[in-house]
């Protein structure tokens, strides 16, 4: 499991791609040449890590620039950057309920995601444990989960509006619905995949169900649970933008829609960048968390 999380598996590919390798002459090469070859490989590794992403970004900006030449309603990269600097120099202003800084909007969205996701974790993770541990419960819920999982969380929004009679809880409700499935499913799989060796230990030691849960199931399934959490947060962050476009109020999704109504295209582009950045940070934070809680499995 550790190996899967390690990002440096790309290293050997780097070596294979470097043009320096001349297999026919290699055996005769003196030792000094070997060290220069290693230095070159190192240079090409940095090239892959730093220069390639920069080139990708430059290409994106170039394409963007070309588009703006043909289409005058589309802002240039420079104009957008200027607008972004202005926007982020004062992210936390409050003029009216419908005119607040981008920082407040992002925080409002994050808060909804936090609440909806937190409630989903509270329900989903214990339910996942039950489904993974008790076959009867699994048989009870599996068909329902299979049926409801593919439904877009936005389809649940009207139900939320009907029940809660307010936009904000309805948005949280959609987040709850979309976050709960990956957590239930991954937790259940994690519990089902607890190595039989550990369960045999539990049986020989005659551990109580509580000890089995806390000392074996929970630590063993934790990496799977955290994968579920990561998938949930990702989906929740996707869904909140769409949900807020429908519900209105304060929030980055609504903000995008509002700026569209104002025909403020630079702000929309900035919002897209900001949404992407927040999503990336959430993902990275959870990957780091998962790595901290991954243990080596039993092996000879």
């Amino acid at each position: 499991m550790n190996a899967m999380l390690k990002p440096d598996s790309a290293e050997p590919v780097v070596a294979a791609l470097t043009p320096e390798a001349k297999p026919a002459r290699r055996p005769r090469r003196p030792l000094a040449a070997n060290s220069t070859a290693r230095a070159r490989a190192q240079v090409s590794a940095t090239a892959l890590k730093i220069i390639a992403p920069l080139m990708g970004a430059a290409l994106l900006v170039l394409v963007w620039q070309i588009i703006t030449v043909k289409n005058s309603s589309f802002p240039t990269p420079a104009a957008t950057l200027e607008e972004a600097v202005k926007l982020f120099s004062d992210p936390f202003y409050r003029n009216s309920p419908n005119d607040q800084g981008i920082g407040w909007n992002l925080l409002a969205s994050l808060q909804r995601v936090g609440v909806g996701f937190g409630l989903a974790a509270l329900v989903g993770i214990p339910l996942g444990f039950l489904i993974g541990r008790v076959q009867f419960v699994s048989a009870m819920f599996s068909p329902i989960i299979s049926l409801l999982k593919p439904v877009s969380p936005l389809a649940w929004l009207p139900i939320g509006l009907l029940v809660f009679k307010s936009a904000n809880p309805a948005a949280i409700w959609s987040i709850f619905i979309c976050s709960i499935w990956p957590m239930i499913i991954n937790t259940a799989i994690g519990v089902q995949r607890v190595p039989q060796d550990y369960m045999n230990v539990a049986r020989v030691l005659n551990l109580s169900e509580w000890k089995i849960l806390t000392k074996i199931l929970l630590p063993s399934a934790l990496p799977f649970v955290l994968t579920g959490v990561r998938l949930s947060i990702g989906t929740a962050w996707l869904v909140i933008v769409a949900a807020e476009m429908l519900t209105g109020g304060v929030g980055i999704g609504f903000w995008v829609w509002d700026e569209w109504n104002n025909l403020n295209v630079p702000h929309i582009i900035i919002a897209i960048g900001a949404i992407g950045l927040v999503g990336l940070l959430l993902e990275q934070a959870l990957v780091a968390l998962a790595r901290a809680f991954t243990y080596e499995q039993v092996s000879n």
Binding site: D197, Y198, N200, V201, R203, V204, L205, N206, L207, S208, K211, K215, I216, P219, S220, Y295, E296, Q297, V298, S299, N300
Partner: protein, 266 residues
């Protein structure tokens, strides 16, 4: 009663798998005396681990009875603790906590926390791992892990110690070292031991009796060799002992002449 501390009578084991019915063991009859050291030896697939799991209570026999101290073996119990082939330590617990988990379960109701701690530390000391108390399994070597596994099993003061190829994954030197340690521990604790092995020297060195199994499917006990070498045994002295060679030859004869290795399991 003393000579049939573990009593296995007419045990049959049939597995119902997706591929069909597999008859693993037939007509197993074996009596183990208290304090006796038994090894089960045979080619892979002969069901020796299955027999051990039956004694452990991890499996239920299709037919026949298994008794331990005159009581039917109904399920796994700390009374018959197991040292697993791959140590099966919980990687998120320290060596101390791994052992404490079993100690707490067996003695927790009757003893104080301090006594439980003392037992755990004593078990670690018994296998010479006091220094590794606070280490997690991935921080110690394979041999040390296996020793913690043995300590965990012994700390529960089991009536029977069951070992499933406990040294199979270790290098020869570590294995020899642990065998010597095991001999000392067993002599000190007077444990009844049933051990699965595929190592002929290990079997002769450790056992009072070597139970040799025929090839599967439907494997059974082929022959039993009684090893009448006095204890304590010394591996270097035994290496040139004529009786040792005789026992060794008897086991080899059984394994490679009478029960030649089945081709499919090669």
């Amino acid at each position: 009663m003393e000579d049939k501390f573990i009593d296995i009578e007419g045990v049959e084991m049939v597995f119902h798998t997706k591929k069909g019915v597999f008859h693993a063991l037939r007509e197993i009859d074996l009596k183990v005396a208290k304090g006796e050291f038994i090894t089960l030896i045979g080619h892979s697939g002969c069901g020796k681990s299955t027999l051990l799991n039956l004694i452990a209570g991890l499996l239920k026999p299709t037919d026949g009875v298994l008794l331990c101290a005159n009581r039917e073996i109904a399920g796994p119990s700390p009374e018959r603790s197991v040292v697993f082939q791959n140590h099966s330590l919980l990687p998120w617990l320290t060596c101390y906590e791994n052992i404490y988990l079993g100690v707490e379960r067996v003695f927790g109701a009757a003893e104080t926390k301090a006594q439980l701690k003392e037992r755990t530390l004593a078990a670690l000391a018994l296998v010479g791992l006091t220094a590794a108390e606070a280490k997690r399994p991935h921080e110690i070597s394979g041999g040390m892990k296996q020793r913690v596994g043995i300590a965990r099993a012994l700390a529960m003061e089991p009536k029977v110690l069951l070992m499933d190829e406990p040294f199979g994954a270790l290098d020869a030197l570590t294995r020899a070292h642990l065998q010597d340690e095991l001999l000392k521990i067993v002599a000190a604790t007077k444990s009844t031991v049933v051990m699965v092995t595929h190592d002929v020297d290990e079997a002769v060195l450790l056992s009072d009796r070597i139970v040799m199994m025929t090839n599967g499917p439907a494997a059974t006990i082929g022959e039993i060799v009684e090893v009448q070498l006095e204890r304590p045994r010394d591996r270097v002295a035994l290496a040139s002992d004529a009786r040792y060679m005789e026992y060794r030859t008897a086991v080899l004869e059984f394994l490679y002449r009478k029960q030649a290795h089945p081709a499919k399991a090669a």
